[in-house]
Subunit: 104 residues, 2 copies
DNA sequence: TTGACATATCTAAAAACATCGATATATAAT
DNA sequence: ATTATATATCGATGTTTTTAGATATGTCAA
Protein backbone atom coordinates (compact mmCIF):
# COMPACT_ATOMS: atom_id res chain seq x y z
CA UNK A 1 0.00 0.00 0.00
CA UNK A 2 1.45 3.35 -1.05
CA UNK A 3 -0.33 6.05 0.91
CA UNK A 4 0.83 8.87 -1.32
CA UNK A 5 -0.57 7.29 -4.47
CA UNK A 6 -3.82 6.73 -2.64
CA UNK A 7 -3.94 10.34 -1.45
CA UNK A 8 -3.27 11.52 -4.99
CA UNK A 9 -6.06 9.37 -6.33
CA UNK A 10 -8.42 10.82 -3.76
CA UNK A 11 -7.37 14.43 -4.44
CA UNK A 12 -9.97 14.82 -7.14
CA UNK A 13 -13.65 15.26 -6.65
CA UNK A 14 -14.76 12.98 -9.46
CA UNK A 15 -12.50 10.16 -8.36
CA UNK A 16 -13.59 10.54 -4.77
CA UNK A 17 -17.19 10.43 -5.93
CA UNK A 18 -16.60 7.28 -7.93
CA UNK A 19 -15.16 5.53 -4.91
CA UNK A 20 -18.11 6.58 -2.81
CA UNK A 21 -20.68 5.64 -5.45
CA UNK A 22 -19.18 2.19 -5.57
CA UNK A 23 -19.96 1.71 -1.90
CA UNK A 24 -23.58 1.31 -2.94
CA UNK A 25 -23.58 0.36 -6.60
CA UNK A 26 -27.22 -0.69 -6.77
CA UNK A 27 -28.21 2.70 -5.39
CA UNK A 28 -26.07 4.84 -7.66
CA UNK A 29 -26.10 2.67 -10.77
CA UNK A 30 -29.65 1.36 -11.05
CA UNK A 31 -29.12 -0.29 -14.42
CA UNK A 32 -26.03 -2.02 -13.11
CA UNK A 33 -25.26 -5.36 -14.73
CA UNK A 34 -27.98 -5.01 -17.32
CA UNK A 35 -25.59 -6.69 -19.73
CA UNK A 36 -24.86 -9.63 -17.49
CA UNK A 37 -26.66 -12.93 -17.44
CA UNK A 38 -28.08 -13.56 -14.01
CA UNK A 39 -25.76 -16.44 -13.24
CA UNK A 40 -22.76 -14.16 -13.57
CA UNK A 41 -22.69 -11.99 -10.55
CA UNK A 42 -19.79 -9.60 -10.32
CA UNK A 43 -20.61 -8.40 -6.93
CA UNK A 44 -20.43 -4.69 -6.64
CA UNK A 45 -18.77 -4.23 -10.00
CA UNK A 46 -19.90 -1.49 -12.35
CA UNK A 47 -18.83 -1.12 -15.96
CA UNK A 48 -16.89 1.85 -17.27
CA UNK A 49 -19.73 3.18 -19.38
CA UNK A 50 -22.12 3.41 -16.46
CA UNK A 51 -19.51 5.14 -14.36
CA UNK A 52 -18.69 7.51 -17.18
CA UNK A 53 -22.30 8.50 -17.64
CA UNK A 54 -22.67 9.37 -13.99
CA UNK A 55 -19.27 11.02 -13.71
CA UNK A 56 -19.97 13.30 -16.64
CA UNK A 57 -16.47 13.23 -18.07
CA UNK A 58 -15.09 11.86 -21.29
CA UNK A 59 -14.60 8.15 -21.83
CA UNK A 60 -10.84 8.42 -21.91
CA UNK A 61 -10.76 10.50 -18.77
CA UNK A 62 -12.87 8.05 -16.83
CA UNK A 63 -10.89 5.10 -18.09
CA UNK A 64 -7.74 6.88 -16.99
CA UNK A 65 -9.23 7.65 -13.57
CA UNK A 66 -10.24 4.07 -13.02
CA UNK A 67 -6.84 2.84 -14.09
CA UNK A 68 -5.03 5.13 -11.68
CA UNK A 69 -7.36 4.21 -8.85
CA UNK A 70 -6.69 0.58 -9.57
CA UNK A 71 -2.94 1.15 -9.63
CA UNK A 72 -3.24 2.89 -6.30
CA UNK A 73 -5.03 -0.21 -5.04
CA UNK A 74 -8.40 1.35 -4.38
CA UNK A 75 -10.20 -0.56 -7.11
CA UNK A 76 -10.00 -3.92 -8.79
CA UNK A 77 -11.39 -4.92 -12.15
CA UNK A 78 -12.93 -7.94 -13.73
CA UNK A 79 -13.38 -8.23 -17.43
CA UNK A 80 -16.51 -9.89 -18.69
CA UNK A 81 -16.74 -10.00 -22.43
CA UNK A 82 -16.34 -6.53 -23.80
CA UNK A 83 -17.04 -4.93 -20.45
CA UNK A 84 -14.71 -4.17 -17.63
CA UNK A 85 -16.30 -4.09 -14.22
CA UNK A 86 -14.69 -2.08 -11.49
CA UNK A 87 -15.36 -2.53 -7.81
CA UNK A 88 -13.80 -1.36 -4.61
CA UNK A 89 -10.89 -3.18 -3.09
CA UNK A 90 -12.26 -3.16 0.43
CA UNK A 91 -9.19 -4.79 1.90
CA UNK A 92 -6.89 -1.99 0.76
CA UNK A 93 -9.40 0.69 1.69
CA UNK A 94 -9.68 -0.72 5.17
CA UNK A 95 -5.91 -0.92 5.50
CA UNK A 96 -5.69 2.69 4.43
CA UNK A 97 -8.32 3.78 6.94
CA UNK A 98 -6.33 2.01 9.64
CA UNK A 99 -3.15 3.63 8.44
CA UNK A 100 -4.78 7.01 8.64
CA UNK A 101 -6.05 6.38 12.13
CA UNK A 102 -2.80 5.05 13.55
CA UNK A 103 0.02 6.58 11.50
CA UNK A 104 -1.22 10.00 10.45
CA UNK B 1 -13.27 19.92 6.81
CA UNK B 2 -12.53 19.64 3.11
CA UNK B 3 -11.32 16.14 2.43
CA UNK B 4 -9.91 16.95 -0.99
CA UNK B 5 -7.68 19.72 0.34
CA UNK B 6 -6.49 17.36 3.02
CA UNK B 7 -5.75 14.62 0.52
CA UNK B 8 -3.84 17.10 -1.62
CA UNK B 9 -1.80 18.21 1.34
CA UNK B 10 -0.93 14.62 2.10
CA UNK B 11 -0.01 13.78 -1.50
CA UNK B 12 3.58 14.81 -0.95
CA UNK B 13 6.19 12.87 0.90
CA UNK B 14 7.75 15.81 2.70
CA UNK B 15 4.42 17.13 3.89
CA UNK B 16 3.36 13.70 5.03
CA UNK B 17 6.63 13.40 6.91
CA UNK B 18 6.16 16.74 8.59
CA UNK B 19 2.75 15.72 9.86
CA UNK B 20 4.14 12.48 11.18
CA UNK B 21 7.17 14.12 12.76
CA UNK B 22 4.84 16.44 14.62
CA UNK B 23 3.19 13.47 16.28
CA UNK B 24 6.31 13.20 18.43
CA UNK B 25 7.98 16.59 18.33
CA UNK B 26 10.39 15.94 21.19
CA UNK B 27 11.63 12.83 19.42
CA UNK B 28 12.11 14.37 15.99
CA UNK B 29 13.04 17.89 16.99
CA UNK B 30 15.35 17.51 19.98
CA UNK B 31 16.22 21.19 20.20
CA UNK B 32 12.54 22.10 20.09
CA UNK B 33 11.66 25.30 21.91
CA UNK B 34 15.25 26.21 22.58
CA UNK B 35 14.25 29.79 21.99
CA UNK B 36 11.36 29.74 24.38
CA UNK B 37 11.42 30.72 28.00
CA UNK B 38 10.32 27.79 30.14
CA UNK B 39 7.11 29.42 31.22
CA UNK B 40 5.89 29.60 27.67
CA UNK B 41 4.97 26.16 26.62
CA UNK B 42 3.60 25.80 23.15
CA UNK B 43 2.77 22.21 23.48
CA UNK B 44 3.80 20.23 20.48
CA UNK B 45 4.64 23.28 18.42
CA UNK B 46 7.81 23.40 16.37
CA UNK B 47 9.19 26.46 14.65
CA UNK B 48 9.58 26.73 10.89
CA UNK B 49 13.35 26.74 10.98
CA UNK B 50 13.57 23.46 12.83
CA UNK B 51 11.11 21.86 10.46
CA UNK B 52 12.97 23.23 7.48
CA UNK B 53 16.26 21.83 8.66
CA UNK B 54 14.81 18.37 9.01
CA UNK B 55 12.76 18.54 5.83
CA UNK B 56 15.74 19.48 3.74
CA UNK B 57 13.92 21.89 1.47
CA UNK B 58 14.23 25.62 1.02
CA UNK B 59 12.81 28.03 3.56
CA UNK B 60 10.18 29.33 1.19
CA UNK B 61 9.09 25.84 0.24
CA UNK B 62 8.67 24.75 3.83
CA UNK B 63 6.83 27.93 4.73
CA UNK B 64 4.51 27.31 1.80
CA UNK B 65 3.99 23.68 2.84
CA UNK B 66 3.10 24.64 6.36
CA UNK B 67 0.73 27.31 5.15
CA UNK B 68 -1.11 24.93 2.89
CA UNK B 69 -1.31 22.28 5.58
CA UNK B 70 -2.76 24.87 7.90
CA UNK B 71 -5.29 25.98 5.31
CA UNK B 72 -6.29 22.36 4.88
CA UNK B 73 -6.81 22.25 8.64
CA UNK B 74 -4.11 19.74 9.46
CA UNK B 75 -1.95 22.22 11.35
CA UNK B 76 -2.42 25.26 13.48
CA UNK B 77 0.12 27.93 14.27
CA UNK B 78 1.04 30.15 17.14
CA UNK B 79 3.32 33.08 16.75
CA UNK B 80 5.73 33.79 19.56
CA UNK B 81 7.94 36.76 18.91
CA UNK B 82 9.73 36.25 15.65
CA UNK B 83 8.95 32.56 15.57
CA UNK B 84 5.93 30.76 14.29
CA UNK B 85 5.23 27.45 15.94
CA UNK B 86 3.25 24.87 14.06
CA UNK B 87 1.54 21.92 15.66
CA UNK B 88 -0.98 19.34 14.60
CA UNK B 89 -4.68 20.07 14.75
CA UNK B 90 -5.61 16.76 16.33
CA UNK B 91 -9.30 17.48 16.21
CA UNK B 92 -9.34 17.84 12.43
CA UNK B 93 -7.02 14.90 11.96
CA UNK B 94 -9.27 12.71 14.03
CA UNK B 95 -12.34 13.90 12.14
CA UNK B 96 -10.60 13.07 8.92
CA UNK B 97 -9.67 9.60 10.10
CA UNK B 98 -13.28 9.02 11.01
CA UNK B 99 -14.40 10.34 7.66
CA UNK B 100 -12.07 7.94 5.94
CA UNK B 101 -13.31 5.02 7.96
CA UNK B 102 -17.00 5.73 7.52
CA UNK B 103 -17.38 7.65 4.26
CA UNK B 104 -14.66 6.36 1.98
C1' DT C 1 -15.78 -11.22 -42.28
C1' DT C 2 -17.86 -7.06 -41.34
C1' DG C 3 -19.79 -3.69 -38.41
C1' DA C 4 -20.95 -2.08 -33.93
C1' DC C 5 -19.78 -1.40 -29.36
C1' DA C 6 -16.79 -1.14 -24.87
C1' DT C 7 -12.63 -0.04 -23.17
C1' DA C 8 -7.73 1.16 -23.30
C1' DT C 9 -3.98 3.73 -24.93
C1' DC C 10 -1.74 7.56 -27.31
C1' DT C 11 -0.91 12.40 -28.09
C1' DA C 12 -1.05 16.96 -27.26
C1' DA C 13 -2.52 21.34 -25.08
C1' DA C 14 -3.94 23.77 -21.08
C1' DA C 15 -4.09 24.16 -16.29
C1' DA C 16 -2.30 23.43 -11.87
C1' DC C 17 1.49 22.54 -8.84
C1' DA C 18 6.28 22.55 -7.03
C1' DT C 19 10.27 24.77 -6.04
C1' DC C 20 13.54 28.17 -5.34
C1' DG C 21 15.92 32.66 -5.01
C1' DA C 22 14.87 37.24 -4.05
C1' DT C 23 12.49 40.41 -1.52
C1' DA C 24 9.37 42.07 2.11
C1' DT C 25 7.80 42.18 6.82
C1' DA C 26 8.10 41.69 11.56
C1' DT C 27 10.54 41.24 15.71
C1' DA C 28 14.71 41.39 18.61
C1' DA C 29 19.13 42.93 20.10
C1' DT C 30 22.73 46.33 20.18
C1' DA D 1 18.58 53.78 14.18
C1' DT D 2 20.95 49.79 12.60
C1' DT D 3 21.65 45.15 12.21
C1' DA D 4 20.44 40.40 12.57
C1' DT D 5 17.16 36.78 12.57
C1' DA D 6 12.71 34.28 11.49
C1' DT D 7 9.09 33.84 8.59
C1' DA D 8 6.04 35.15 4.75
C1' DT D 9 5.27 36.48 0.20
C1' DC D 10 6.50 37.34 -4.66
C1' DG D 11 7.97 36.08 -9.23
C1' DA D 12 9.75 33.00 -12.37
C1' DT D 13 10.48 28.54 -14.23
C1' DG D 14 10.28 23.62 -14.63
C1' DT D 15 7.35 19.72 -13.78
C1' DT D 16 3.19 17.23 -13.20
C1' DT D 17 -1.60 16.70 -13.74
C1' DT D 18 -5.78 17.09 -16.19
C1' DT D 19 -8.51 16.42 -19.94
C1' DA D 20 -10.23 15.24 -24.33
C1' DG D 21 -10.05 13.79 -29.14
C1' DA D 22 -8.16 10.31 -32.00
C1' DT D 23 -6.82 5.84 -32.56
C1' DA D 24 -6.07 0.98 -31.28
C1' DT D 25 -7.62 -3.34 -29.30
C1' DG D 26 -10.75 -6.67 -28.12
C1' DT D 27 -15.36 -8.70 -28.19
C1' DC D 28 -19.92 -9.58 -29.86
C1' DA D 29 -23.61 -10.13 -33.34
C1' DA D 30 -25.23 -10.58 -37.91
Amino acid sequence: MKPIDIFKALSNETRLNILQWLKEPEKHFPKQGAHLPKEVSIKGGVCVGDIQEKANASQSTVSHYLNMMQKAGLLESVRYGQWTYYRRNEEVIRQMADFFKTEI
